[in-house]
């Protein structure tokens, strides 16, 4: 009786301990991602192809929403486990690399292999490459419904006038039935292009915040004017903007490459154009650009590292990057794919390139999180009319400096 009890007890204990241990099966790879369903479909197909090329190998995937992916990967990798590859926007490279959770890839990838990637597509921090991208951009562009707009104006004065004409109460019940513009008014990612258009930016080259500038005030004032004109629904968030545009109840939307395919599939004939030049300054708005790519977990066991690197090479090969570009209307991360006629000749991708060229890379330092967190409340308060645009700059700068100091302490 006793030995049996002891055996049961210890088996249970062993089960608990084994389930906590990181897997080191050399043929079982894992990828964590934050892709939307359309991109997931492409990835799953590519992974099945990889498995067919490598009999006996299984690649498992786990999907998380972007923020969740960051926290989950951090927690897992800090505990010495986590996936072999983690996929996401370049801004996660900053914290992951500082915490020592991802490997510099130049250790494993030859300079010749790295040279095929465009400069904007490499997740680089302090001279090290921490991510290989399968696409580049992630940038906001002006998207218009061709049923309402023939050709968008190229300056904000003409654009604002057009937005007012396009905002209509069709049935005369006092409620707007179609808006000139819809966009996410809650997230400062949609504000940053205009900040660039007024000649400002969020940080200097040393990573110090630059939020108390005349450009910030002017850009805030411009956004407030958009709301006051009533050409965009007040308190418009992402789902609302997306829904209204999909329903044909908005002429323009400001959105990124991840959304274009769904608009086309939804039967909307879309056109793309760069965000109009700011009339006051003559500058083009500069949306933030960033590559989306794969990083290598530092805890990948020696036994399967080679296979994981092979998977990384496979997912960022010309064929796979080309598939992502073609099927998702995403800009390719490789020079060679960008030259393909079907990519170079695609009008949507061409318009996207035009916008990308006017954008600026998103800083990958972790302090960027502080910038978002101080920009968000100030921006929302200015739009809600509870803070003056002039007050926003000094408040944001002080908050950002304080929070960065706390973060570094």
């Amino acid at each position: 009786m006793r030995p049996r009890l002891a055996a049961i007890s210890f088996s249970l204990c062993a089960c608990v301990l084994i389930s906590c241990a990181p897997g080191d099966d050399p043929l079982r790879l894992s990828v964590w991602e934050q892709m939307d369903p359309a991109q997931q479909k492409v990835l799953y197909r590519q992974l099945r192809e990889f498995e067919q090329l490598h009999p006996g190998v299984r690649v498992e995937t786990n999907h998380f929403e972007t923020e969740k992916l960051r926290t989950q990967f951090q927690t897992a990798a800090l505990a010495g486990s986590g996936p072999d590859l983690v996929y996401g926007p370049a801004d996660q490279v900053g914290p992951f690399s500082i915490m020592g959770l991802i490997e510099p890839l130049e250790k494993y990838v030859s300079p010749e292999s790295l040279a095929v990637f465009t400069e904007a597509s490499l997740g680089t921090l302090e001279g090290h490459v921490y991510a290989l991208a399968d696409q580049v951009g992630n940038h906001l562009t002006l998207v218009y419904n061709r049923s309402y707009v023939d050709s968008p104006p190229d300056n904000t004065d003409a654009w604002l006038a057009q937005l007012q004409e396009l905002t209509v109460d069709e049935d005369g019940d006092g409620k707007i039935d179609r808006y000139g513009l819809v966009m996410n008014l809650l997230e400062p990612f949609w504000f940053v292009p205009w900040l660039g258009g007024f000649g400002g930016w969020v940080m200097d080259e040393n990573g110090a915040p630059t939020l108390d500038t005349p450009a910030i005030t002017a850009a805030m004032r411009f956004m407030r004017e958009l709301v006051l004109l009533g050409v965009v629904p007040a308190s418009c968030d992402y789902p609302l903007a997306d829904t209204l545009f999909m329903q044909g109840r908005a002429a323009y939307i400001i959105n990124g490459p991840w959304s274009w395919q769904s608009y086309r599939e939804g039967g909307i004939e879309i056109g793309l154009a760069p965000l109009p030049r700011v009339s006051e300054t003559g500058r083009w708005p500069s949306p933030m650009t960033s590559p989306l790519g794969y990083s290598l977990n530092v805890h990948v066991p020696e036994a399967r590292r080679e296979l994981v690197l092979e998977l990384l090479g496979f997912l960022t090969s010309a064929e796979r990057v080309g598939e992502v570009s073609r099927e998702l209307s995403a800009l390719p991360s490789r020079h060679d794919v960008a030259q393909w006629p079907m990519i170079a000749g695609d009008p949507v991708l061409k318009a996207s390139w035009d916008q990308l060229e006017k954008g600026r890379p998103m800083p990958v330092v972790p302090e960027m999180r502080v910038i978002w967190d101080v920009l968000r409340p100030a921006y929302q308060q200015v739009l809600a009319g509870t803070m003056d645009p002039e007050e926003a700059g000094p408040w944001m700068q002080n908050q950002a400096l304080k929070m960065i100091e706390e973060m570094r302490r």
């Binding site: 204990c13 809650l186 968030d237 972790p366």
Partner: protein, 290 residues
């Protein structure tokens, strides 16, 4: 001797699990709270800084507003959970046509994942297109800035959580009501007791031992409820003014990587909750009865 050994062998797996998932993380959290563990120190090892994190927390001007908001959040939610839950349980405890359907419908909020419910409610609070403001408009009332004003944003989260939480109390109360012997009500009726007297002197006293642990549980869950505030107010909007303690700590830990500071805040929250639970337990004096 043999019995003791067998007992220990039976207890060992559970004890090991408890030590692994409760005791060790708790002790480790206390250790982290005494260090400067953060983004820039995690790689090379954090240093021991004693009670510095605790002192910073206690001197934090926002601590008291977060604490007050958390207490309001907990008290209002638990109050309405209990009142609505018990009231509905009293109604459902009577025989009437379609009772099973009503019971099933009323449990739906509890069965829905919080994530989905919170995001759906957030949509209903939209200023222009949300169901609440459209309804207010139909009634000729002005639209409410649910998500852009700090008090309204906090109220929106409370409304959502009341809707999500009352079914639990309803189910507990219903179980309690069904365990009260019918003879007691019959005897009271013979004595000429009114409906109110029966409620006051039979139902409520006999329901109390069932509801007390549920209220304590509800208090702890609500106090620590991160999802609803985080999702309905979109991470404490506007301007971080709708945070409760746990959402603030979550942000400090996972947005700003201030692990040592957040761990210390976690210990402070634990002490507050432990104190509240102890007081509640003592006041209800049902600890030994349950």
């Amino acid at each position: 001797m043999r019995t003791t050994r067998n007992f220990l062998l039976f207890v060992l797996p559970a004890a090991l699990v408890m030590v692994t998932v409760v005791a060790w993380p708790f002790v480790y959290n206390i250790w982290i709270s005494l260090t400067n563990l953060g983004l820039y120190t995690i790689r090379d090892g954090a240093s021991f800084i004693g009670l510095a994190n605790y002192l910073r927390i206690l001197s934090e001007p926002d601590l008291w507003s977060y604490l007050l908001r958390t207490l309001i959040w907990t008290a209002v939610n638990v109050f309405f959970h209990v009142v609505i839950g018990v009231a509905l349980a009293l109604l459902l405890n009577r025989p009437f046509r379609g009772r099973a359907i009503y019971r099933a419908l009323l449990i739906i909020p509890w069965a829905l994942p919080q994530y989905i419910a919170a995001l759906s409610w957030r949509g209903m609070f939209n200023y222009e297109f949300g169901a609440f403001n459209l309804l207010l408009g139909e009634l000729g009332l002005p639209a409410v800035p649910w998500l852009s004003h700090e008090h309204w944003a906090f109220s929106a989260a409370i409304l959502t959580n009341i809707w999500l939480g009352f079914p639990f109390m309803m189910v507990v109360a219903l179980g309690g009501l069904q365990s009260i012997p019918k003879e007691m009500f019959e005897a009271a009726e013979i004595d000429g007791a009114s409906r109110w007297w029966k409620l006051r002197y039979i139902t409520i006293p006999l329901l109390k031992p069932v509801m007390a642990p549920a209220v304590i549980l509800g208090t702890i869950w609500t106090f620590n409820n991160l999802n609803v505030i985080w999702l309905v107010t979109n991470m404490g909007e506007p301007a971080d003014k709708s945070h409760i303690l746990v959402t603030y700590v979550y942000k400090a830990a996972f947005n700003y990587y201030r692990y040592g500071y957040a761990a210390a805040f976690g210990v402070v929250i634990f002490l507050i909750l432990a104190g509240m639970t102890w007081l509640n337990w003592r006041r209800s004096q049902v600890g030994y009865e349950v």
